[in-house]
Symmetry: none
Subunit: 255 residues, 2 copies
Amino acid sequence: MHIHPRHRAILDLLEEKGEVRVSDLCGRFSVSEMTIRRDLAELERSGLLRRIHGGAVNARGRSYEPPFLSRAGAHQFQKERIGKLAADLIHDGESIALDVGTTTLEIARALKERSNLNLTIITASLHITNVLANSPGIRLIVVGGVLRFGELSLVGHLAERAFREFYVDKLFLGVGGISLEAGLTEFNLEDALVKQAMLKTAKERYVVADSSKLGRIAFTHIAPLNDVHVLITDSEANEKVIQALREHGLRVMLA
Amino acid sequence: MHIHPRHRAILDLLEEKGEVRVSDLCGRFSVSEMTIRRDLAELERSGLLRRIHGGAVNARGRSYEPPFLSRAGAHQFQKERIGKLAADLIHDGESIALDVGTTTLEIARALKERSNLNLTIITASLHITNVLANSPGIRLIVVGGVLRFGELSLVGHLAERAFREFYVDKLFLGVGGISLEAGLTEFNLEDALVKQAMLKTAKERYVVADSSKLGRIAFTHIAPLNDVHVLITDSEANEKVIQALREHGLRVMLA
DNA sequence: TTGCATGCGCACATTTTTTTGCATTGACGC
DNA sequence: GCGTCAATGCAAAAAAATGTGCGCATGCAA
């Protein structure tokens, strides 16, 4: 990729100060504010910084997170964008299944931001439950099961059966990998079984996966690609891979 | 999600001091009180702090809603003693059902302290789940259900059915009231239904109730006194009431 | 009770920043 | 020379952040 020297300089400044302002940068580089905004927008798309009103801050070191929620640092920014886009697809009154995972957790966070939304949400993730607890307007159904440490996900026959009993408008599924050859795959067998159950009961089925998951094959098979309708990923994704997935009949949305 | 540096600074201050005031913050950041109020409102919506009159306090650590917290304060010492005593009755290898409530939560906390204990615990309380998550040796089964705000308890047919499917060695039940006339009673109907389901599947059935619950009658009937074997309460309890309960065949333990 | 002080939050005004559409520039290849 | 294309600038419109005025609630002291 051809990197603009100004971009490099902006990132250096950001590294040094932690925060930069549009008004400051345009003077420093003798360009218009418009140009700086475009620069920042592009750098933000690459996940190298985060835009704020009037400037930008370092993408790393966002520290005010509730401690009990572990942030998966990797591709965090892409996940947030995916989460936001997914949340925007959800309409008032719908019933939604939210899978376990850091990307789906971002959907939950984005949903919490949107108020006056009446939703029924079913999930096997206690992280998501903790985020959405006490959100007015959201009726939260937690499936039962054995608690899997770390992920705080519920697995086992209680979980699988619970999903079989509810029919939802939309499912947002997280995966360990998605590829043409192996379809949807996952690292943990028990989680995979739950995912299979989820897939059976949803009208519209979305996979959310940041670009690092594309083309990757994890340990267990979940389902063939055809079982889902839409993939939501981020704009860093390799174009050829996306094209191939589209030709396979999958609708792909870029966040 | 907004990354406003001021938000970040407010949270840092909060972390340091434990409490911040609107009037102080608006001077510190040279903005109007209105702006600070808006900031605090937004941060509260994200669950990062708790608003109080004139300012905000840290929400981290014990991160949940007022109703539960305020109730947790009452008779806290007694509850801790009861929890400790109950936990001491639990032996390695047993399976345990832990009911929803502040007293049973203390049992969970006491259990977490005791290491090298292999247990299977089933519960409908997300507070308890959060306490016991990642405790080595404890296999945690969470029943499913609809999340009841405030209590963070799971209710409904998923919860009831889950309890019916597991047989446990010991059940520790919390109640809203316990009396000779009305037996075991509870404030919330849905919780009461779940409690009934729990009672059916346990070999040894304990009620934990601090002395303020004795002689009190809450809204719904759970079960007659005969359905439980032991009451664990604190030593503040009225002796006559205890005597009466003992004569009725209930074993009473004082913590 | 009344009056006062404090704090809250809505509605609207103001300021700042961003977005958008379009024009301009200059490098590059033909 | 000339068309193309990416980079840039400009200005109007839109959106976001902030400030101000005002009514309301609460607590406290006269």
